[in-house]
C-alpha cells in the first residue's frame, strides 16, 4: 500500500515503526529493543496457536530472526504489528502444517506438553455439567485448548489474532492474505465451532436466556 505524506508522517509517529526503521538501518540496539517489546505478544500468540511453550518460543524466535534477515526490505506500512504478524502467520502456518504431516510426533508432543489436551475421557464426566465453577480453572483451560485444536489452522490463526491481538477483520485479512469477506467467513465458522465445543461450560447469566436454548450444547 503506497503511503501518502500524511500516512507516512503518521507512520513515523508510531514508535514501533520508528524502531523498525532503526533496525533496518543496522542499529543492533534497536533490534534488541524490538525483541524486548514484542516478545510477550509473539510468544503468547504462538503459544495459543501451537499449544506448546517450547515450540512457541522457537517459533517466536524464528519470527524475530526472519525480521532481522529481511530488515532491509522493510517499508513502513500503516501498522508495524501487521507486518510482524504477517511473518508470524507464515511461520505458524508452516509449523502447523508440518505437524499435520507428522501426526505421531504430534501425539507424543501433546501427551507430554504442559498445555496439551489430556485424553478426552479424563474430562468426559464433567463435560455435560454446565457451571464452569466446578471445573478447576486448569481443566477449563484444557477444554478450551482442545476446542482450539479442533479448529483448522487458518481458523485458529484468525481466532487468536482477533481475540488476543484485538485485530479487526481487515488487519487479519492483511496478515493472512485474505479478503475481509473471507476473514469474516473464516471467523464465523471458527466461532461457531467454538460455541459448539464450549457451550457446555458457559453460564447463561444476566440475560436470562430462553429455556429452549439452555441445552444448546446438545444441539450439535
Amino acid at each position: 500500500m503506497p503511503i501518502g505524506q500524511t500516512s507516512a508522517m503518521m507512520a513515523l509517529r508510531d514508535p514501533d515503526i520508528r524502531l523498525m526503521l532503526r533496525v533496518r538501518d543496522d542499529d543492533a540496539a534497536a533490534f534488541a529493543e524490538l525483541v524486548e517489546r514484542f516478545q510477550h505478544r509473539l510468544v503468547a500468540i504462538m503459544g495459543h496457536l501451537v499449544g506448546r511453550h517450547d515450540e512457541a518460543e522457537d517459533l517466536a524466535q524464528e519470527v524475530f530472526l526472519r525480521v532481522y534477515r529481511i530488515r532491509k526490505k522493510y517499508r513502513p506500512t500503516a501498522k508495524f504489528s501487521t507486518w510482524l504478524f504477517t511473518i508470524a502467520n507464515n511461520l505458524a502456518l508452516n509449523a502447523l502444517r508440518d505437524r499435520q504431516r507428522r501426526p505421531l510426533v504430534l501425539l507424543e508432543v501433546h501427551e507430554s506438553g504442559p498445555l496439551g489436551p489430556r485424553p478426552a475421557e479424563n474430562l468426559a464426566p464433567t463435560r455435560d455439567q454446565p457451571p464452569t465453577q466446578q471445573l478447576q480453572q486448569q481443566e477449563l483451560a484444557q477444554m478450551i485448548r482442545e476446542a482450539l485444536e479442533g479448529l483448522s489452522e487458518r481458523q485458529r490463526i484468525a481466532i487468536v489474532l482477533n481475540k488476543f491481538e484485538d485485530m479487526n477483520y481487515a488487519e487479519i485479512g492483511e496478515v493472512m492474505g485474505l479478503s475481509t469477506k473471507a476473514v469474516k467467513s473464516l471467523l464465523s465458522r471458527a466461532r461457531s465451532k467454538l460455541r459448539e465445543a464450549l457451550q457446555g461450560y458457559i453460564y447463561m447469566d444476566g440475560e436470562a436466556p430462553p429455556e429452549n436454548v439452555t441445552a444448546g450444547s446438545g444441539e450439535s
Binding site: 532503526r22 538501518d25 543496522d26 543492533a28 540496539a29 534497536a30 533490534f31 534488541a32 529493543e33 525483541v35 524486548e36 517489546r37 516478545q39 510477550h40 503468547a44 504462538m46 503459544g47 495459543h48 511453550h53 512457541a56 518460543e57 517466536a60 524466535q61 524475530f64 530472526l65 532481522y68 534477515r69 530488515r71 532491509k72 498445555l115 464452569t132 480453572q137 483451560a141 478450551i144 485448548r145 482450539l148 481475540k163 488476543f164 479487526n168 477483520y169 469477506k181 469474516k184 467467513s185 471467523l187 464465523s188 465458522r189 466461532r191 461457531s192 467454538l194 460455541r195 464450549l198 457451550q199 461450560y201 458457559i202 447463561m204 440475560e207 436466556p209 430462553p210 436454548v213 444448546g216
Partner: protein
C-alpha cells in the same frame, strides 16, 4: 467493545437480510451466524448492525445464539497467557546471523572485537554492523556546542553503548546488582568515556598520536578539554546515574564487557601522571567525537578494526585541521601545484604549529618564571649547568660536531637552542629540547667491561641473528645496538652464552653500583625490592626496572639520567602534562 453492546429496541419492521454478496467460500454456511459474529465483533456497518439488532430484539433464539457465541468466545480468556522465558530475549539476540563461533568475514581484524561484532553483527550480505557501531549509532545527530558538555556525555554514552536503550528493558532480566565491586563501579562511571574506545592499546595510540592533547584548543580545533568539574557534573545527571550506567554495562556483550574491564584495569595500573594524561585524552576524544557530524562519527565508529578507526580519526582531524586554517593559508593550499607540494605545506605548517603549541604550553607552565624574568631551573645554577653539559657529552654523546646517539638534525636543534638560550637568556626552550632528547634516547648503565656494540663481538652467534640493516647502523652505540641483539635473541628464542649487560648488583660500574645499593635499594618498598630481585639476570629488564624505580622515587641516576630531580624536569619541561594535575 462491540460485543458488549446491548440490543436496542428496534422497530419490528426492520428486516434481517444478510447480503448475498457476503457469502463465503463455504456457501452452506449459516449466513445468519456469520452476520451475528460480525455484529458481535463490531465489524458491521451502521445499517447492517441496526438490522441485526432488530432481528435480535425479535428473535429470542437468535439472541441466545448471539449470547452463546459471545460467552464461548469470552471463555478463551481463561487460557493462561504464554509468557516468554526470562532468557528468551538474550537467546534470540544470540542467534543473530553471524554466529559467535564463526568470525565475520566482514572484519579485517582478528581481535576480540571480532567476537563482539559476531555476536551482534549482521549477515555477510548486508552492511556489516561494525564492532563499535553495533553498540553505537543510537544517538541523535547533534552539533557540538561548548556549553553542552554535560549533555554531550549523555549522547556519547548513548552513542557509544547503544544498548543503553535496551538496557532499561533488559534490566529486569538481569536484575541490577546493586553491590558492584569497587572496580566495576569505577568502570561504570567511566563508561561514557570508554565507549568509543576499543581497548587500552587503542587508547595509548590515540594518546601518542597527540591528537587529543590538552592544548588542542590552541590549535583552533573545536575539541576542547572537558574540565573535570564538568565531567563530574555530567556524571551526576540522571542519565549518568550509576544504576542506568550499570544496566547499560551489563547489557553489553560479554566480550565487550571483558574488553572494557581490561581497559579500565590497565588504565588504573598506570602511574597517576600517565593515567591523568590518558584520562584527559579520553575526555577530549569523547567530546570531539560527539561534536562531529553524524556521517563522520559513523565512519569512525563503523571502522572494522582499531587500526582503521585510528586512521579514520586521523584523516578526519586532518581534514578539519585544514578547514580551520586561515583563508590565506587555505588559498596557498588550493593553489599548490600538486599533492606533494600540498603535503609539504601541510607538513611545514604542522611543524610550525607544533612548535608554537609546545612553546605556548611551556610558557603557560612557567608563566611565573617568565614574567619575573628568572632563569628556569636547573640553568639558574652553574654547577647544575655543568652537570647538564656533562650529561649531553657522556650520555647523549653529543660532542663537538659528533651527534652521538641522536640524529644530526637533533644535535643541531639542540645547539641552536643553546645559542638562543645564551643570547636571549631564554633557557626554557633549550631545557625542553634537552628533556625531549633525554626521553627519546634513554640510557642504560654500561657493563664493567667493554659493552657489546659491534657485530664481531657476537662471533658465531651473529649468524643466528637477523642481519638487520639497522643493526649495522647501530654499531658502536650503547645501548641501541645491544638492545637490538637482545630483541633478536628473544625473537629467535636464543639463549646467549654471554651477558649483554649488567643485570644484578655487583655487575654495575662503581657509581651506579653505589647508587643502587646505597641510595635506591634502601628506599624501595619490600614489594618493589621483590620485583627487582625477580628480574636479576635479565637484561635489559633489570636495569630498566631499576631506572623506573629511581624515577618513581624521584632519584636521578648518575651518568644515566638528567641531573636533578626527575619530577622537577617533568614539571618544568614536559609540555603535554595535564594542566589540571595537582602538584
Amino acid at each position: 467493545m462491540a460485543d458488549e453492546r446491548k440490543p436496542d429496541p428496534i422497530p419490528d419492521d426492520a428486516i434481517v437480510r444478510p447480503a448475498g454478496g457476503d457469502a463465503d467460500r463455504d456457501d452452506e454456511f449459516d449466513t445468519e451466524e456469520t452476520e451475528l459474529v460480525a455484529y458481535l465483533d463490531g465489524e458491521l456497518n451502521e445499517a447492517d448492525a441496526r438490522r441485526i439488532e432488530a432481528h435480535l430484539a425479535r428473535d429470542p433464539q437468535a439472541r441466545a445464539k448471539a449470547l452463546a457465541l459471545k460467552k464461548t468466545y469470552d471463555l478463551l480468556e481463561y487460557l493462561p497467557r504464554p509468557e516468554p522465558s526470562p532468557n528468551f530475549a538474550s537467546r534470540t539476540l544470540d542467534r543473530i546471523p553471524t554466529s559467535k563461533s564463526a568470525p565475520s568475514p566482514a572484519l579485517s581484524s582478528p581481535s576480540p572485537r571480532g567476537a563482539l561484532a559476531a555476536s551482534h553483527g549482521s549477515a555477510p550480505s548486508a552492511t556489516p554492523l561494525s564492532p563499535v557501531s553495533s553498540y553505537a549509532l543510537a544517538s541523535p545527530p547533534a552539533r557540538w556546542r561548548p556549553w553542552l558538555v554535560g549533555g554531550a556525555f549523555a549522547v556519547i554514552l548513548a552513542m557509544g553503548l547503544g544498548y543503553f536503550g535496551d538496557a532499561a528493558v533488559r534490566s529486569y532480566l538481569h536484575p541490577p546488582d546493586t553491590s558492584l565491586s569497587f572496580e566495576e563501579s569505577r568502570l561504570v562511571e567511566n563508561l561514557p568515556l570508554y565507549s568509543g574506545v576499543d581497548d587500552y592499546d587503542f587508547l595509548v595510540k590515540l594518546a601518542d598520536s597527540d591528537k587529543f592533547a590538552p592544548d588542542a584548543v590552541l590549535l583552533g580545533m573545536p575539541s576542547v578539554v572537558a574540565p573535570a568539574a564538568v565531567v563530574q557534573a555530567a556524571a551526576s545527571q540522571p542519565w549518568g546515574n550509576d544504576h542506568k550506567l550499570a544496566d547499560a554495562f551489563k547489557a553489553l556483550p560479554t566480550a565487550r564487557q571483558d574488553q572494557l574491564r581490561d581497559l579500565d584495569r590497565k588504565l588504573y595500573s598506570q602511574s597517576p601522571a600517565e593515567r591523568a594524561r590518558l584520562y584527559q585524552v579520553l575526555e577530549s576524544y569523547a567530546v570531539w567525537l560527539h561534536g562531529l557530524d553524524e556521517p563522520e562519527r559513523k565512519a569512525i565508529l563503523d571502522a572494522a578494526s582499531p587500526a582503521l578507526r585510528l586512521a579514520k580519526i586521523h584523516s578526519i582531524r586532518e581534514h578539519l585541521w585544514q578547514q580551520q586554517l586561515p583563508a590565506t593559508l587555505r588559498n596557498l593550499l588550493d593553489k599548490a601545484e600538486n599533492d606533494q607540494k600540498r603535503a609539504d605545506l601541510v607538513q611545514q605548517w604542522k611543524t610550525e604549529e607544533q612548535d608554537r603549541r609546545r612553546n605556548w604550553m611551556l610558557a603557560r607552565q612557567n608563566w611565573e618564571t617568565i614574567r619575573a624574568g628568572r632563569v628556569p631551573w636547573p640553568f639558574d645554577n652553574e654547577a647544575m649547568k655543568n652537570e647538564v653539559n656533562e650529561f649531553i657529552r657522556s650520555v647523549l654523546r653529543i660532542d663537538g660536531n659528533s651527534s652521538g646517539r641522536v640524529t644530526p638534525t637533533e644535535a643541531q636543534m639542540l645547539r641552536e637552542a643553546r645559542e638562543f638560550a645564551e643570547k636571549n637568556n631564554a633557557w626554557l626552550w633549550y631545557g625542553s629540547d634537552l628533556y625531549y632528547l633525554a626521553n627519546k634516547y634513554p640510557a642504560l648503565p654500561e657493563p664493567i667491561g667493554t659493552p657489546i656494540t659491534r657485530i664481531e663481538d657476537l662471533s658465531k652467534f651473529a649468524k643466528k641473528l637477523t642481519d638487520r640493516k639497522n643493526l649495522r647502523d647501530a654499531q658502536g652505540k650503547w645501548p641501541e645496538f645491544t638492545l637490538m641483539i637482545a630483541e633478536d635473541a628473544a625473537r629467535a628464542k636464543l639463549t646467549l652464552p654471554f651477558s649483554l649487560g649488567p643485570s644484578r648488583p655487583g655487575e654495575f660500574r662503581p657509581p651506579i653500583e653505589a647508587f643502587l645499593t646505597k641510595t635506591l635499594l634502601p628506599r624501595l618498598t619490600p614489594a618493589e625490592r621483590d620485583i627487582l630481585k625477580s628480574l636479576e639476570g635479565k637484561w635489559p629488564e633489570y636495569p630498566r626496572k631499576m631506572l623506573d624505580l629511581a624515577r618513581k622515587h624521584d632519584l636521578p641516576v648518575p651518568g644515566i639520567t638528567l641531573p636533578g630531580s626527575p619530577r622537577k624536569w617533568e614539571n618544568t619541561y614536559q609540555p603535554s602534562r595535564p594542566l589540571t594535575r595537582p602538584n
